[in-house]
Symmetry: D2
Subunit: 339 residues, 4 copies
């Protein structure tokens, strides 16, 4: 993609019959904005995508945006390359097979006053459960990863938990992550309180990745896992990273999904202690360069170096996503013998 | 170090008798500025270092600054940690041994009008030759790495090759790199013209690392190599990186210097083609985040992940230093059996 | 506007019948991106605007974009407020009147190889002449201001005058400015050479304002001036600024357009000498903050303080637009007695 | 000054006998860093200043730094120019005169746990009272301005009020401002609680300017006012700004100090409502450009445009300093007839 509004490659695939617009269930991608509150590359891409799909189908852009999760993370620092992954599902029966399943769900619209509060946690729990059920995933143990795009309010709201929009954006990620953790059984429901958000970092799931932004108004959920009736051949390998330098963690995720790499999702965060393995880092105190931009550039390069490809979905802000100061990597791959 | 003026750890080592101030021959380090023209953390560190050494020795800060190279690179993006390496040399004889040698030299003061011109190239050639000779390195093939701090003018000079100070800073790195390449035999002397700078990128050496900044007024040269009469035990392993994602290149440098890692130097650059392995990167067109900050964050993380330590000297701006779009890594290590 | 894709206020005006979509001839506005090469807020706004207008008229977004100039400048630093000015023209006859006229024109598509070259200058001259004629402005002396959106290539082109996309963006402004200057008689045609661009700053017009960006592919021209047959009541006051601190120049432009201020356009640039009135400024050497962001924040605040309103179109990069180191201000106002 | 360590102009004035080192009581200046937590230009300047003064007097740099306030604010965005004001006091008697008086005081060292707490407020109250008394200012009504440099901790401290160092830097300004307000009688002592900091913005003084930074460890106070026994001729004019666009407020401060302008101090802040005079600004939500850099660029330009000179001390972060969303301006001038 040449810019955040450039969907020409997907348009060409559709025109060539290689992708059927009606099969598309979710899009996850990286655009080249700053990844923060004032990153409008996400909204630009979403608008452009829905216009393209609407031109192919009998639905309006608004209708499509309300049923196809479009999870974008801004920021392609360093070695990263702007790209998007299109997840399509066909109706072809796969009898007797058990493979990578995909389910999606949207929570109701989340008003500013609910962001970072118990109401958002509950809404995400319900949405994840709906997506798991929709995918036909029998047990939460079979979920590989849940990706959520959580809302941030575009304008201040006095009823919101914080008057600082950047803080709300962070709280939204935290609430969504904890909600997923509860739904997956990785976080005890009774500990998933509003007070625990951004406070009790012992609560986390290593199977959840959240982005937030003003371009969505509810929690858009995409669940990946294994289920019966889905075609074999594509696998998802997930591994936690204990800290930012955990090269072995990254390699473990790739080892868990052998074959042709189709896509990679990674989350991480600047260690809140201000140090990594005992040595001071400068990500959190830099007035000129946002901590998440620091983080994505570093984590993205490590993952891209292992992948040998800069098209990696790397998102900062891993609150309650993977161990504190660490994160997680999820690799989608197609087994070579199935190609 | 807590900040760029914090030399307390070196002061403590000197106070404890573990480092003799008079043995110090060069300092190479990373400070947490932006690494660009207006990065004053380098000058602050240098002033603080020379004040400390002056308090221990019978020389003024200015005298010390004129004979001890202090090569600083600003920018500790992402996983990097501010740190400095102190290179000391003792007079203890090492008869019959052949080990890592160190030589230093200063070119005459380089006026703004000479920066990025043939005069600077010639001055660097001469300084490298003096440093090689001073170290007792018999053949240029035995040089592992030449590190140079090259000057940038603090104020505009109409006689300079460019009116853009940022361009002069880049030209200074290029001229110094080409000068080193000629001195080492890696670049043919007849091709090392002013016109070739930043133009003919087929001219490069994979044994040279240059930083530039306004805090120095001449070319300060540090040469590392193998020579007789130097103690065994410490080795320098150097390997080129073919591109930013060349994880194998990084690992090769570490493999070439087995043992306890004492320090790491790496250089790299954003690929000028705008793409890495065929996929667009966004380092060169970002109005908000300088390309070199992008680069250091990415390269630094990859090298730090292999090292398992954020204390890595990573410098962007690898013009004529390593292959185009790539760079190089140099690892200093102490053999474990010699500890 | 709440974000760069928010056209709800114009939509409401159209719905209320206060603006007729078919009357709109040009839109000039500020979006809140960084104003540089990777500012996609301009493209996002343009796409959103054309979608809105297309929904109201019998034309596609592409057709509308090809005939309605949409001149956006990114960057609302400091006191500035994101906003857009919609210029509408009605067919109501104004016999015997002489008032503010508006004309528009598009050059042919400008390929990357023509940017910053004589071909672009010539194309702009022709487009300005067409717009002046279309507006019915009898003499170029009656032109108050020419606003141009000039193209920048989204991807590198080896045939371009520079391999640096940021330099091309600057060259495009320079060529368009010189083209306007020639068309208005402010710059001698024989001096308007490719070599003079960004070199001979004695060539300038104080009646031209250029923005450039990758969201347009040709030179989109809007001309304002006085002509017969246009309704009286709205005036445009224009004054040059001799330097960035020329408060009197700003006040002169407001004095020249008494009444209710409808919109303000200002251009300026960081003084290339590195100093303003003898004192060093730091806009040009800042690695973390782009010089144009510095400039817009400063110039915008001065103009906004005089206007008492942050909705000011301020654009940096005033090459050949106003005197070197200075710029110009244009105020649109409605005479109070005509309200 | 060519860079933050450049004291050559003061050195020349001392060498020429135009300034006596022993007469210097305070230095207030702007350096060209980012003005935030990781701005080390302030520490670099302070170190360089104290080295210069120590070379002229029989005291060490540390002794001088403990008695001469050196109040630096980083950030010379836009039209601003790096500079420093040297405040000297002579012992010449001025019998029967009443003029601008200067007093200084240092609080005890403020540990990280006291920052932004009642202990810091009390310490500042006491220091201001000491400085007022030392200057011989009879009544607090006669105080024109109190300038404070307040501490920020260079490393995290679990006992501190916030784990976020940037928040501590803000809290330190707030506590110091409220402390000054209490000492001057502008803020009721019983309302000056820890809880009121950054919360009750109805508490403010329009005669106080605070900067904070890691380069100081206590609250350094400089008081300006009118007192008997001080020479006539120099005046300080102070006026509040009701909002960022309050051009009349700026002009009022200049009108209150007619004559040759010797120096200007201004404070301001981004309006927390997100709007100025009803129109949205984008300072607070910008991920790439710190809100204080936005603010300084805008406010600095307005004040510099009125002054006709970029050498203006402008500092952001005006919590409890001037009215909310506004700020204040203080002009030092020498009456022309007294030159």
């Amino acid at each position: 993609m040449d810019h955040p509004g450039d969907l020409s490659e997907l348009a060409a695939l559709i025109a060539a019959g290689r992708v059927r617009a009606g099969d598309i269930r979710a899009v996850i991608g990286k655009t080249e904005g700053n990844g923060g509150l004032n990153d409008f590359t996400r909204g630009y891409f979403t608008q452009s995508l829905m216009l393209l799909l609407a031109s192919q189908m009998g639905e309006t852009p608004a209708e499509l945006a309300a049923r196809i999760p479009c999870v974008l993370s801004g920021g392609t620092e360093g070695a990263l390359s702007p790209h998007y992954m299109v997840f399509s599902v066909s109706d072809d029966p796969a009898p007797g097979q058990r493979g990578l399943a995909l389910g999606t769900a949207f929570s109701p619209v989340t008003p500013a006053r609910d962001i970072g509060r118990a109401a958002q946690i509950r809404a995400v729990v319900a949405a994840v459960q709906a997506a798991v059920a929709g995918a036909g995933i029998a047990r939460v143990e079979d979920v590989a990863l849940v990706q959520v795009k959580a809302p941030a309010p575009p304008v201040p709201d006095p009823a919101a938990r914080s008057t600082d929009a950047k803080v709300l954006m962070t709280l939204s990620r935290a609430a969504a992550a904890v909600g997923v953790g509860v739904a997956l059984g990785d976080i005890p429901a009774d500990k998933a309180t509003e007070a625990a958000l951004l406070s009790d970092f012992s609560l986390f799931s290593s199977r959840v990745s959240i982005s937030s932004g003003i371009e969505v108004t509810c929690n858009e959920v995409v669940v990946f896992g294994r289920a019966s009736g889905w075609a074999e051949g594509i696998t998802a390998g997930v591994a936690p990273m204990t800290d930012l330098l955990d090269l072995a963690g990254v390699q473990a995720a790739f080892a868990a999904a052998p074959g042709e790499v189709l896509g990679v999702i990674a989350k991480g965060e600047p260690d809140r202690s201000g140090a990594i393995r005992g040595h001071r880092h400068t990500m959190l105190g830099d007035t000129d360069l946002d901590a998440q931009r620091h983080l994505r550039g570093a984590l993205g390069a490590i993952v891209a170096a292992v992948a040998g490809d800069g098209r990696v979905f790397v998102s900062g802000g891993a609150e309650h996503q993977g161990p504190p100061g660490g994160g997680l990597v999820c690799v989608f791959a197609r087994r070579r013998d199935t190609a």
